[in-house]
Symmetry: C2
Subunit: 270 residues, 2 copies
Amino acid sequence: MSSSRFLINGITDGAISPLDRGFAYGDGIFRTLRVLQGQPQTWAAHYAKLASDSARLGLTCPEASIWREEIASLFADKGDGVAKLMLTRGIGERGYAATDNGVTRVVMRSPLSGYPQKNADEGIRVHLCTIRLAHQPLLAGIKHLNRLENVLARQEWSDPNISEGILLDQDNLVIEGVMSNIFVRSGKILITPNLERCGVAGITRQRILEIAPSLGLLPSVAPLSLPDLMRADEVLMCNSLYGAWQVVDFNGRTWPLGQLAARLRQILQE
Amino acid sequence: MSSSRFLINGITDGAISPLDRGFAYGDGIFRTLRVLQGQPQTWAAHYAKLASDSARLGLTCPEASIWREEIASLFADKGDGVAKLMLTRGIGERGYAATDNGVTRVVMRSPLSGYPQKNADEGIRVHLCTIRLAHQPLLAGIKHLNRLENVLARQEWSDPNISEGILLDQDNLVIEGVMSNIFVRSGKILITPNLERCGVAGITRQRILEIAPSLGLLPSVAPLSLPDLMRADEVLMCNSLYGAWQVVDFNGRTWPLGQLAARLRQILQE
């Protein structure tokens, strides 16, 4: 059924207990990253985010070397693929109070995502989601395992020509995509929404904020309204797997294909 | 490590794949119920809630007879305990889009919770949680597997003399307990908060709403402010495992022990 392989606490093809708090409560975090020729891409940034998300939830994050060894073990063929890393608060008995049974660590290998090449070449059509993201500052920014909002959002469309959905929050501010972060360029200003109340702060978003000045752009983390997005010169979505795509069709407007997404993909891959 | 036993899709001591969407996204629901002498208590109400929560998330809920047979199998000794039922969207590959691989059904048996008898006899001390529940109408009321807010709330106290925490929402309205619903009595009026924007609508809450008129009380589902709670004649918490407890010490106020919680426990057990 599955083309994925995995290690659970270092055990090949292990399994998760139904008592695992990751299963019972979504009490954990995860990351997905590209692996090329056996090498996890942008590893330092991914590990830093794994460690900081762990700290936010009070999880003890295993050392980088442990993750690296397990990724290397699953990619011993020096192949390409996606590594998904997960960390949960481990086995618990019933009840929300945490017991100290140690964390559960999962490293999974899957094939590289089969995103259509035309998403990069021609830009993407995007759905405006009706679900509104809830405000929870204590969880905002964390890539945690409570992802029902994303699941519900992804159910809103089935048209295969639509590649992403844009999520607003309960104040109708633009926050992110279902599986992506978002940027809008207006002249020289490159804005991405602040994620202090909801959303996932991805590492590609962070990298683009750092790259922007070298492209002559002024990066800004700020509230972003839907009307501001609709007036922007370019709208881009990004994540660690596909890099950056330009939005060319969204909410009744089309945009001509610009150069920025292609330029970002190139720099992100260097 | 564990005193629990379980069936996963009917398989004794099976395990959960890390690809299960319950683990990956918290994409599922659960219930906990008391089993006495092998009989699940208030089964019809629990199954109705399981079915309606399933429908809210678009999960296909197995027939009641399947759950009943599996509970009977785990309680073949006609013993007492807690049954936890879980239902997830099954195995998925990476990505939020649901695939149709069927649901994952978990039935677990654990010992009856060891709540102190004095919680019933003397009432409970309760913590006012600082975390505020986020508003998500599409998930409100459902007992789903995205429970990080409850996990964070439960981390706020470690004093074993505190038995529960009361959660407010982002408008500072009273919503529920970490593992309970809440009622306040003011004269003949028995109010429980409405749960249209957040919270879990438990079946004991529903049963108390139905029982109230027989006790000469006027049940009401309405917004409840913290000042209204502090002024109430009695504050009660409830769930399927312990029935009802009175709050006697909360947020700087004490209440004398009344009769209502004991009366409700008696009726709930009949």
